[in-house]
């Protein structure tokens, strides 16, 4: 009897393991369906589309306005939103991948440039070109999308999304602190020496209240912008090897370390610091960030702010990151998912959702929305679209960001000199890039 019971338990175990053991294949479900447009759209009833879009990007109220408008055009498509909380892009993409692997793949996902290669190269995304031909009215004036900002979402000649938002990195100033120091907003062509003079003049200690001139951007996108300005970068143009051992890259990282420990014009970076809050509260006078701090400025009614290009180092370039709403190949209703993806990049969508966070990607909307930015120098956002270059994000982005941030933390905590850290970072990044 005991043997019979044990045999029963073992049989149950085998059945259980068999049921749970399909994990390796479940992920491929995402690429199982055909990329060819469906032809029987007219015969379908109410179609459901699952959209991953965080509440931090778009509130429930904004989304309702958007979907009401969407349903005026497409009344038979019901959109269900999933909000995925994450600690950054790498974490966010990982969660999407886990959803796909777990057999709960969404249909349309918000993806920034940092993840588009990863999803596309793993054959998870639906090319949208055939749908664009079949439903030409779905995409509102494709030529109005800024071609440079749209380009990351066209891979190997295939369109994987329609760019919705973008950001660059510029200098934000607390203008009250500038006034106290008797400084104007610097000109667009200000230099490294000008920046250092500003940082020194803005670093004060009045009655125990310490203010630092500048807060180091200790994250991949922000630091990459400074590297670009010194004619350096994390990766080479083919994104197959790292260039962090380049003297220009080392020079930028050493400059960051010197700002903290030699010139003492920047606080020792705290991994959990909130630099936007630090600027608002006057703990620091300058931060480098994109357009996104304006959402917080708006919420806190902070008006004493202006912006300017980052200082010119060896050169003066502008970085950009952009985002779109690609459709997964596994979408149950690919046609409906395509229509939603296209609608989310429309003028209506951009005007509804991008008033004070990211920058719209439609040239017409940019011209209309950007002048409302509460900063007299708002043109630095509009003017940089034509000259910006994309943040480097190959399919191994998660690993590379992790390696870069780790060595940057060693530099900024003064545990390692910039040259040693960058050489080690290069070796690890090259090893990560070698893995497919």
């Amino acid at each position: 009897m005991r043997i019979t019971i044990m045999a029963g338990v073992l049989a149950a175990l085998v059945a259980l393991l068999t049921a749970c053991g399909g994990g390796s294949n479940s992920g491929t479900d995402a690429s199982a369906s055909s990329s060819a447009p469906a032809s029987d759209s007219g015969s379908k009833g109410k179609q459901e589309v699952t959209l991953v879009w965080n509440e931090t990007d778009v509130s429930n109220g904004q989304l309702k306005v958007l979907l009401d408008e969407f349903n005026k055009k497409y009344p038979d498509i019901k959109v269900n939103r999933i909000s995925v909380t994450s600690s950054g892009w790498a974490d966010y993409f990982n969660k999407i991948q886990t959803m796909i692997a777990g057999g709960k793949a969404p249909d349309v996902i918000r993806v920034a440039i940092e993840g588009i290669q990863m999803f596309a190269k793993q054959d998870l995304l639906l090319p949208l070109d055939d749908y664009m031909k079949q439903f030409p009215d779905a995409v509102e004036n494709y030529d109005d999308l800024h071609p440079k900002l749209q380009s990351p979402f066209v891979i190997d000649g295939k369109t994987y999304g329609f760019v919705w938002d973008w950001n660059n990195v510029v200098m934000h100033f607390n203008t009250d602190l500038l006034k106290e120091a008797g400084l104007p907003v610097p000109p667009a062509d200000w230099t490294r020496d000008d920046f250092l003079q500003y940082a020194q003049a803005l670093t004060t200690d009045k009655g125990g209240k310490k203010t630092f001139g500048f807060e180091i951007p200790n994250y991949y996108f922000g630091a990459s912008a400074w590297l670009f300005n010194n004619d350096a970068s994390v990766l080479d143009p083919t994104m197959t090897t790292s260039k962090l051992d380049d003297p220009n890259a080392i020079e930028v990282m050493q400059f960051f370390q010197d700002l903290v420990y030699k010139y003492k014009v920047a606080p020792v970076p705290n991994p959990k610091a909130d630099m936007i809050n630090d600027l608002i509260t006057g703990r620091v006078a300058m931060i480098s960030a994109g357009k996104w701090p304006f959402a917080t400025y708006d919420k806190t009614k902070f008006k004493a702010v202006d912006v300017q290009f980052l200082p010119k180092l060896k050169t003066q370039k502008v970085i950009f990151g952009s985002g779109a709403f690609p459709v997964l190949k596994s979408a149950k209703n690919p046609e409906a998912a395509f229509k939603l993806s296209a609608f989310l990049s429309s003028s209506f969508s951009q005007k509804t959702t991008l008033s004070n966070s990211s920058i719209p990607t439609r040239i017409s909307v940019m011209n209309e929305v950007l002048p409302q930015t509460p900063a007299s120098n708002w043109r630095v956002y509009a003017d940089s679209a034509d000259i910006a270059q994309p943040v480097e994000a190959p399919m191994q982005y998660g690993s590379i960001e992790g390696i870069f941030n780790r060595y940057m933390s060693s530099i900024l905590s003064n545990q390692m000199d910039a040259a040693t850290a960058m050489k080690k970072a290069k070796a690890e990044i090259d090893a990560a890039l070698a893995k497919k």
Binding site: M1, G27, G402, A432
Partner: protein, 297 residues
Amino acid sequence: MKMSRTMKDGFAGYLFLLPALILFLLFIAEPLIVSVFLSFTEYNVITPYRWIGLDNVRQFFHDARLGLMYGNTFKYVLILVPLHMVLGLLLALGVTRKISKRWKYFYRTAFYFPVLVTSAAVAVAWSFLFDSDFGVLNYLLGQLGFDRVPWLQSPRWVYAAVALYSFWKFVGNAFLYYVIGLQNIPETLYEAAEIDGAGPLQSFFRLTLPLLSPTIFFVLVTTLIGATQIFDEPYLITGGGPGDASRSVNMYIYEVAFQSHEMGYASLVSLSLFLIILLVTVLQFRLSRTWVSYHQE
């Protein structure tokens, strides 16, 4: 055919075990077996796994960072286990002594409350406290005439920061077990000892500690396993930094699995951590025979 009494009892026993067995199979046995299998594969979650034999094992023995992570984890064990065990016991002794019921309830709630608070939310507040330039802790130290402490920037001080947060957040667990253990020691034993002339120290070492030994053993095993698997504290407070200075093995496993998408190698490292914990726990159980007493007579 009639079942014998023994067979009936056996069947009932297995039925009672079934719910726990199902949970064990689902959430412990199955992941363990899958991890063993994945250790010999290359698997990134999305594309099907590929059998790569012993490649992950070779990587394991050549992984310079992994040694550092195990070293860091060992430091956490050395710091956190005595911290939670000793201070948890002192706090429990404090609230079971002769103080009014009202204060007992107050202290018990106060010491256990942080365990109930969401780690991620309070960790943000603690990281602000630890800020070198703007943090409250350095402000208070400055008022007392001390230099600023690089809580999150120094490879040494970062352990003090994690220990402080860990103590505040989790000492309530050890404290609660000790309180329960202390309450199970009959008061009459202390009264008899007092009549026999035993002082507070003698009562503690001759009565409290031996009678509390099963609880101490339980707290030791669970705290040691918890410290070996430490993740929340460094992940939320230090991010593993500066550099790799405070990164634990569990953090490393998470990053290998979910940043680099190397599930196969992450499974192998997980297994190595599992085997170490298993070995240490078995050793603890063996040694417990020499100092743990389950008899109260």
